[in-house]
């Protein structure tokens, strides 16, 4: 499978995302933010970092990059898009995902491992995560507190658009396990069509045992399984 990994000025997890895709045995290509096309990409990763220095608001300027028009079109056509950390912020600013990410409740930058629970297996991003498996993934952010108004939250719950929630080692959604104050312990969500998702933790930094966790693979493997399923269906 071919992944496109976007590259904005001050993206800093772009190479990690490319590496993770390659570790999983697939191809990834960096796409500079001034490009207007995603080429033959079958999935897009909007990586972490501090695009445009986080000026104004995180992700607020990156969303106007030429490449984001192509990403919007790709998503409108049903293409898989995953935003990680700053990429999640970019996708919410672009209106491709609901809600917003605001300053962590304790005003601290959190760089640590957290546990995540997949709230549903019904998405290309969570389908390969076994039930009762809590993902151990690193976070590194200062503005990861998920916020949406009550109507939006109710809609997210009704449509099962909450994909990942911060939990403790036993899988309980406690306030203590919530590193940033996100409403409902939300670590990641998807759009209504379930082809665009974003999360604050970094699965791309957890795809090899030497890095301390391989749990991130499960998220990419879900995307790859969905793509392979789609190409088999097309060939049949």
């Amino acid at each position: 499978m071919n992944f496109a990994v976007l590259q904005f000025p001050a993206s800093n997890c772009d190479q990690d995302a490319v590496h993770a895709v390659q570790v999983l045995g697939h191809r990834a290509r960096l796409v500079w933010h001034k490009e207007h096309s995603l080429g033959d990409a079958q999935a897009v990763i909007v990586p972490g970092g501090f695009s445009y220095g986080d000026y104004l608001r995180c992700g607020a300027i990156a969303r106007f990059s030429p490449v984001m028009q192509a990403v919007k079109q790709f998503a409108d056509n049903g293409g898989l898009v995953l935003g990680i950390c700053n990429g999640f912020q970019v996708l919410t600013e672009a209106g491709l995902l609901p809600g917003a990410l605001v300053r962590n409740r304790d005003l601290q930058f959190h760089c640590e491992y957290v546990f995540l629970k997949a709230a549903t297996a019904q998405s290309p991003f969570t389908s390969q995560i076994p039930a009762e498996k809590w993902l151990r993934l690193p976070i590194a952010h200062g503005e990861g507190c998920y916020y949406a108004d009550e109507t939006t939250l109710a809609r997210l719950q009704a449509n099962q658009q909450i994909l990942w929630q911060y939990c403790d080692q036993q899988g309980n959604l406690t306030d203590r396990a919530n590193p940033n104050g996100s409403l409902l312990n939300i670590a990641g969500v998807c759009n209504e069509r379930r082809n665009v998702a974003g999360l604050m933790p970094h699965p791309e930094r957890a795809c090899e045992r030497i890095l301390g966790s391989e749990d991130g693979r499960l998220i990419f493997e879900g995307m790859i399984a969905a793509l392979e399923g789609a190409s088999r269906a097309q060939a049949a």
Binding site: L56, R57, T92, G99, A100, V102, R105, D106, Y147
Partner: protein, 80 residues
């Protein structure tokens, strides 16, 4: 002509910066502070001869789409 834009967090959004500043003010002995909200101030210098009404319409649009995020922020736009 200048446009002054004040962006503040919506009341429903937790504002840890505002709360921290409020606590610091209390510690310094400034009493009677009921709440503090920390936002942004953006000043835009308009080119000479700009039509004020047109500038207001354009900037209102820019505030809504870009300079503020309506999900989490309110803004106030003044042109003088």
């Amino acid at each position: 002509m200048k446009a002054r834009i004040i962006v503040t967090p919506k009341k429903a959004v937790v504002d840890p910066q505002g709360k921290t500043v409020q606590n610091a003010l209390a510690q310094m002995g400034y009493h009677g502070v009921a709440a503090v909200h920390v936002g942004k101030y953006i000043e835009i210098e308009l080119a000479p001869g700009t039509d004020k009404a047109a500038a207001r319409r354009a900037l209102d649009d820019a505030c809504h789409k870009f300079l503020s995020n309506p999900i989490i922020e309110d803004y106030k736009l003044e042109i003088e």
